[in-house]
Symmetry: C2
């Protein structure tokens, strides 16, 4: 039942949502998950200094947040060696992607992405009336040449690329990305989603060149920094584009608690190093558990491992469902041929033990059905 | 410097922002405010139970928030005696107003509000290409008849009304609002901003009738609940319209900490009663301080007092500036004739003492200039 007074654009939008949360599954199953390994959250948690800062900030929650996110932008500027005018902070990458599309994509404008890449980006493009053109992954990685060719062919306003990639975990090295950026038409902007950039030692991120007119890069405190629940991320781009966010963004949209926590998390570089080690260890654990059960782990530069189940999407979906029934929340790629895989987020040893126990049973159930 | 690739709509938007935060003023002045009485925050703070809940939730900040805000919507539904399908939760009223405009206002559509009412609503209307038509306040209150006449004349998609009103503190009683609602054309939706509804015992809010097709009502945890920094509010309306928010909203946009805090705040009805008493006491204090200095307090059903300075807008602006120089942050109405007034938020006794000391000096300075 759609409201008759919606704009024609809004009325035509589907009711489907990009993701159903694990809480909805828990409510339906009337049981809590024992291991939450589906949303590439960081069960290792935020820096203890960030937790302490957020807990203290709860007292001050009566004050509106600084709409300019001044302190955090200054710290990020120093951290990355770029000017604060190149940085806009938002309530996670999701919201920033929405503002980016709103600023740059008019109704009917072409946008290029990969078939199977981030659904929430597609949601925003549809939401502002853009027209999506998808290219296929090549060798389980986003295909830079195909993205560029399609963008030229369609005169696209935006190209979306996640590097490292979600949901496959693959990545292009920094030099390849830099070369790719040099080839982008000047009428097009690369939306470079680097949500997983801090998760590993892989050199996937090119040097910052924030005045480059054709690139806007996205970072988040939701992944390696372990603060998905606080909702805070940022975008880095040319001043003219970053400044334009001020025309449309929700100025008081980032919580004061999140700003305070992100400041503390950013400063705690030792903890980030520890998290990176814990991720690397968990990648090994998930890979070993997968292999022991006949599943092939794909290389990853993220905080998750994508495992080939060796059969089709229906089989992988049955594995996912059977894992959920055993209390293990995971997700998987949405389209063929990527959907022959399941995707498991890194987590501490207690989660790995739960996974190790549940996976063989889930595979057996999936095979029987 | 605007980016050449912006949509025509985005390129045409002004660079002005709805509000400059007090932090920006503090940075410019290189001094912190001693009393923060400008943004109608609640210096009485959130419920201690909400503070405790948020502090605890900081540990769990690694988990994404429930995108359905299920628990809070269930609690709100029970609290108000309405169905949860009539409620959408967002990162404060600001964000929800943005989604409302986006859903209902197409480029060129007419929208009616009062000249001097909430700038952030106007910001969203402009941001989505709507055309604002403003009517003047009458007797320092929003003029229901004028709003309705203008909406009919312009075939408006939306009417904005804040009740109780910001920035004047005035209010229409529940029966007047109910009668007003009955007269709204069926092609028009009333955006009823009730941010201040919980601040006083004034009967300004009509009974809930959430299936009424022509009304969407907005509530927040930023005012009486004292959680402005957490960014959480909600809208109540017909299922068809509330459901449509799912097509455009940032599904993971409300922090887990805010959801947890709001649940605790809603349950602590004793504390809300206490806050209401503290607000009433502070209204008396501000009124008395104003009168002692020759300023006339206007009646209020909010957590602020609007004081007539008895001269023009330039004088009131000088008072505001002089108060800021004395460490007291306040705001004031933006347009004549409302701008003969200053607006002072309620606060605890320490803030009242600061105000009492600063006001006579500020008035003297403003008079001299």
């Amino acid at each position: 039942m759609s409201d008759p007074r919606l704009t024609s654009l809004a009325a035509a939008l589907p009711d489907t949502v990009p993701f159903v949360g694990p809480e909805a599954q828990e409510r339906a199953a009337k049981a809590a998950f024992r291991a939450r390994l589906g949303a590439n959250e960081s069960p290792f948690g935020p820096s203890p200094r960030a937790v302490e800062a957020m807990a203290r900030a709860a007292q001050d929650a009566w004050m509106y947040p600084d709409p300019e996110n001044h302190e955090l932008r200054q710290s990020l500027a120093q951290h990355h060696g770029i000017g604060a005018d190149h940085i806009v902070v938002g309530a996670g990458i999701d919201g920033l992607l929405g503002s980016t599309v709103r600023l740059l994509v008019d109704r009917g404008d072409a946008v290029v992405t990969s078939d199977g890449a981030y659904p929430t980006f597609n949601y925003h493009v549809a939401g502002f009336g853009g027209v999506l053109h998808k290219v296929t992954y090549r060798d389980d990685a986003e295909d830079l040449d195909a993205l560029l060719d399609k963008a030229v062919e369609m005169d696209a306003k935006l190209i979306y690329l996640s590097n490292p990639d979600n949901p496959m975990g693959s990545w292009h090295d920094a030099d390849s990305i830099a070369a790719f950026i040099d080839r982008i038409p000047e009428t097009c902007v690369l939306v470079l989603d680097e949500a997983y950039a801090e998760c590993s030692a892989a050199r996937s991120a090119p040097a910052w060149a924030p005045e480059h007119p054709n690139v806007i890069r996205f970072r988040t405190f939701s992944k390696a920094y372990g603060m998905a629940g606080a909702r805070i991320g940022y975008a880095v781009g040319p001043k003219s584009l970053i400044g334009a966010f001020g025309k449309v963004r929700n100025h008081f949209g980032v919580s004061r608690i999140a700003q305070t926590g992100a400041l503390a998390a950013l400063a705690d570089t030792d903890y980030l190093d520890e998290v990176r080690e814990m991720i690397a260890h968990s990648v090994e654990r998930i890979s070993a558990i997968g292999r022991a059960n006949g599943l092939q782990p794909l290389p990853t530069a993220t905080n998750f491992v994508t495992l080939e189940c060796g059969r089709d999407g229906d089989f992988a979906r049955r594995v996912l469902t059977s894992l959920a029934e055993r209390g293990v929340f995971i997700r998987m790629p949405g389209v063929a041929p990527l959907d022959r895989c399941i995707r498991i987020s890194c987590g501490p040893e207690r989660d790995m033990v739960t996974l190790k126990q549940a996976l063989p049973i889930a595979l057996e159930m999936a095979t029987k059905k």
